[in-house]
Assembly symmetry: C2
Homo-oligomer: 136 residues x 2
């Protein structure tokens, strides 16, 4: 059953099974949500998820998320060191990046595309996907 | 807005703000889900969430989760070292424990009670709650 991993999953071991950047693997599912892990480096693409928040936890390295929030604030960037979490609210344009590289964990509804519902042109190094099975 | 923590939350710093065991703090929300952290030591109580899976990530220490699964398998215990994840499927009776103590992160629908929908008598050291605000 898809919701029933028989054994715990060690995230470091799971991360060691792939090298692709910006190409999340689905570690497990919680109801109709995915738990995804990804290796990242360089810049993602500006995109927005219209109908869902997106949770980030930094497992290794440092992640930055540029945000274009409504209101007078305009654009800002939050910095997530290892061990910190952040939720990008639905409807907020954002662009993750990591100059030195990072490993991250995400929660989001199953089927959520990595490039959101609207996005800038997707560069070749970004995998437009709803996540891959671990080991695939 | 409840879904909009203005800044990232460092989990170690968040964990340092409370000492209570088995008494989860809500770090942030993702749609209608909570991200909760807890310090644990000793035994929780046998309980079941009839309508939701429950996600665990071990941040520090080691967590064990005893499971009473349907079928001939009967009772078993999964061991989660630091950095590993496990999802208890809905409807499965379970009892977390940690002999040496651990810090954990959980992901579950907002309003999910720590002692589930059915449970053994709740001992005094277990906080029957749907989670507390961080800093409360």
């Amino acid at each position: 059953m898809i919701n029933e991993p028989k054994q715990p999953v060690d995230l470091k071991t799971a991360l060691s099974t792939f090298e692709a950047l910006w190409s999340p693997r689905i570690v497990t599912r919680v109801n109709d949500y995915d738990v995804r892990i990804a290796k990242v480096a360089g810049e993602h693409v500006w995109h927005v998820h219209e109908n869902t928040d997106e949770f980030f936890l930094v497992l290794e390295g440092e992640l930055r998320i540029a945000l274009r929030e409504p209101g007078p604030g305009g654009e800002r960037t939050v910095v997530l060191p290892r061990g910190s979490v952040f939720v990008v609210p639905r409807g907020v344009e954002h662009k993750p990046s990591s100059a030195e590289g990072a490993s991250i964990m995400m929660f989001e509804p199953t089927g959520t595309p990595t490039v959101g519902d609207r996005h800038d042109p997707v560069p070749g190094h970004i995998d437009a996907t709803t996540g891959h099975a671990l080991g695939s």
